[in-house]
Symmetry: C2
């Protein structure tokens, strides 16, 4: 607390005094009281970004799905499980955020109905009906007092194309994209490499520790955020 | 190693010299390179049983799905992910086991096909076709050189009935069953309570730490195992 106040007082950090809301980790979509659908996100990238933002002087609120990690030293940590819970929690905090970084691997589909009781296994086949979940990124980007909105993408192929498409269709300020299923980087790894794009530019952050990648990404975000704000101010 | 040899030499422990194979944790059934179906098993109960068996003098081989736990000090630990991997791993070790304890929460159903690439989310609804997985417990119980076979059950209701039914239909030597979704005990908790049944008897192990429950269960297993063996020997 004191350290942070001193930092702000001395104007320390490229995100001093800026409120950053970050979502991280996977979500779990319940099938019944025991079973769920999830994904391979470890939360490492999102946690590293939260820590880098805090070191850059930002007030950081982290909304996280279930992970096995120690939470980083930030201002606020909220644990959620399903995409529905994450949606509600993020949207309640968006009005207070200057920057939103959606680093969580939110499930795109969730079971249509959740069984109250454990489903008994009588049949040799089963059909699980899924419905699309709420799109948190689009909702944040469309919200009234809209923060600078950064989305993530994880793809097995055509990474750059998907990233640019996501930037446009969801009206985001920046998209950070990583490969999945390659030799190195991405889910469950300590290293990562990113393709980052925004309106009017893009760059590659080559393979490095998630800590280093997070610092580089926070620098890019701070640059674009301040550029947008000074453009607004000088209008 | 030396400690174990000394233990065996002095005949220490109710399972001295007995080979115990234990499966623990959840399995993950891949939907595509990123998404999977899993369940809320933390692996704590299975790991506690492995540790209790080792303390009782047994040679312990642990086959475990993905968990966030430190592995217990046993003779051998093998990590697996899918129910298919767990089936193969367990079956390869069964011929060398005197006792098998199936404490893993193996998925009953897995996606029929696994997508090579990340599934794109175009439709508002999706149908996931699942097929029944291999039944590891039944396969162990039906194997030629059959170990003393202990199954687990986790149920939201009618616990005792399901446990006795499982004992009979899968031709097991013992079933340990716990409630799911109650206030205390079971998945993801540090405490547990069990209903244990075998041919000719049953008992309740009331709510206690998983360490205590594991010790009580190992004592029950050792009793029944030695009783069966002396019955065989005196035939």
């Amino acid at each position: 607390q004191i350290v942070e106040e001193l930092k702000s007082f001395f104007g320390g950090g490229i995100l001093a005094g800026v409120s950053v809301l970050i979502s991280a980790g996977p979500t779990r979509e319940p099938i019944d009281p025991v079973r769920y659908i999830s994904n391979r996100s470890s939360g490492k990238m999102g946690y590293a970004i939260a820590e880098a933002a805090a070191r850059a002087g930002a007030k950081v609120s982290l909304v996280t799905g279930p992970t096995a990690l120690k939470t980083p030293p930030v201002n606020e940590v909220t644990w959620v499980e399903s995409s529905e819970e994450m949606y509600r929690c993020v949207m309640s905090k968006v009005p207070f955020a200057d920057i939103y970084i959606g680093a969580a691997a939110v499930a795109d589909y969730a079971p249509e109905t959740i069984a109250d009781r454990k489903i008994k296994k009588n049949q040799s086949e089963m059909v699980l009906r899924l419905r699309k979940t709420q799109d948190i990124l689009s909702a944040v980007s469309a919200s009234p007092k809209r923060p600078f909105t950064v989305g993530f993408a994880a793809e097995t192929d055509n990474l750059e194309d998907y990233a640019r498409e996501k930037l446009a269709t969801k009206a985001l300020d920046m998209v950070a994209a990583n490969w999945v299923g390659r030799d190195k980087g991405g889910f469950e790894n300590d290293d990562n490499a990113l393709f980052v794009c925004w309106n009017g530019g893009d760059t590659y952050l080559p393979l490095a520790s998630k800590k280093t990648i997070a610092e580089q990404l926070i620098r890019l975000i701070a640059e674009r955020y301040h550029a947008q704000n000074s453009a607004k101010d000088s209008r």
